[in-house]
Symmetry: C2
Subunit: 225 residues, 2 copies
């Protein structure tokens, strides 16, 4: 056991949400294995850094973006998942608003790009499986945590929040019921301002009540839609 | 990175439930570090085995019990968590009925014992933290999965299920509401038989509807108590 030859990597599944579309950040690999193929950003852990530091560092090195609130997703360790030998990977995930970040490839990434999750290239290693696990977790998450604070405009019409949930769930929701449930969470402040969009009547604007939002984020909610 | 010197272990948090008491399976370490101290069972991963195989093997080697339905909990990787060097541990957890297993210490365990979780000895490494994360996860789990099939008698009075939930939650519940919710899940079959306990009137017996139970286990439930 003393000379166990297993190496450890971290991978970062970064989802983006913008206006009804979910995307994921991928890099094109500069070196073998899978040279020239798309992959989830990630890499080897350094000996003296924590797992979280490692994943933040790798993400920044490869894509230029810095995110400090990635969550641990799952550890993938099938013996044959990497052609370089036994490599176990600890995957993290997060959900951001893509247009607030500017991405730029470096170190072992040749390119970096947001891909619509409905139109993905073929992925390297077992990254398709990692992405599937992350997508499922993201979907589950919105039933026990409020979501949207970092993803919507500071002031937004209710329909933006509805679109966010519909998109993440990947299905239609009962709109009246949804509104009732969100309102009952007490997480939104309704503003005096209205917004005009298209030909409908002006819609009220809302903003998140920050204190209440982060309280519920910590405490957890049960939200059946 | 090619000569990264990180080693990997797995740890198994095995909770037991019996008649209103939650326990956890611990071993007394035979060797340094923490020789003679209590710890969660676990050990080094072999190079050609999956993570799941590794944790099942270690658990069986150290405690004599074989469990095939452990779930991955979280990966612990603080650089200084183990005095032997950088060792990252992938923790798994499960919940069983202790009296169906016979435990026996072997390999690097000097003793093995079930401990009431309200009366634990001092634990080695960061095992106290691992146990805390596992306890929280266990509590969360019962709000999105049915529970009890492997933990209660085949036929049981409703009060046994209520006691299980109360114990896992660690607090009182609204009994009428709880009953209504369980019934609405359609996961129980009510039997013709009754059971007499103490001086109250005989209680109806229930059993789980297996098909429905495992369907909900897979599909997930939303269960606010």
């Amino acid at each position: 056991m003393g000379n166990q030859k297993i190496r450890l990597t971290v991978d970062a599944v970064v989802f983006g949400y913008e206006d009804g579309i979910i995307s994921v950040l991928l890099i094109k690999r500069k070196y073998e294995p899978y040279k020239g193929k798309w992959a989830i950003p990630g890499g080897f852990i350094l000996e003296n850094e924590s797992l979280k530091k490692a994943v933040e560092r790798e993400l920044q090195e490869e894509t230029g973006i810095k995110i400090s609130y990635l969550e641990q997703l799952y550890t993938f360790g099938k013996p044959d998942r990497d052609p370089r030998g036994r490599i176990v990977s600890i995957a993290y995930f997060g959900l951001v608003r893509p247009n607030v970040f500017s991405i730029s490839a470096s170190t072992d990434a040749e390119e970096v790009q947001w891909f619509n999750i409905d139109d993905l290239p073929k992925l390297s290693f077992d990254h398709k499986e990692i992405l599937n696990v992350a997508t499922q977790r993201l979907r589950g998450k919105i039933t026990y945590e409020p979501i949207g604070f970092e993803l919507l405009d500071k002031k937004f019409p209710f329909s933006d929040l509805e679109k966010l949930y519909t998109t993440l769930l990947g299905r239609k929701i009962d709109r009246r019921n949804f509104r009732k449930k969100i309102i009952s969470l007490n997480v939104l402040d309704e503003l005096e301002e209205k917004i005009s969009k298209g030909s409908g009547r002006p819609a009220n604007l809302f903003k998140f009540n920050q204190e209440r939002y982060f309280h519920l984020k910590e405490k957890g909610i049960i939200f059946e839609i």
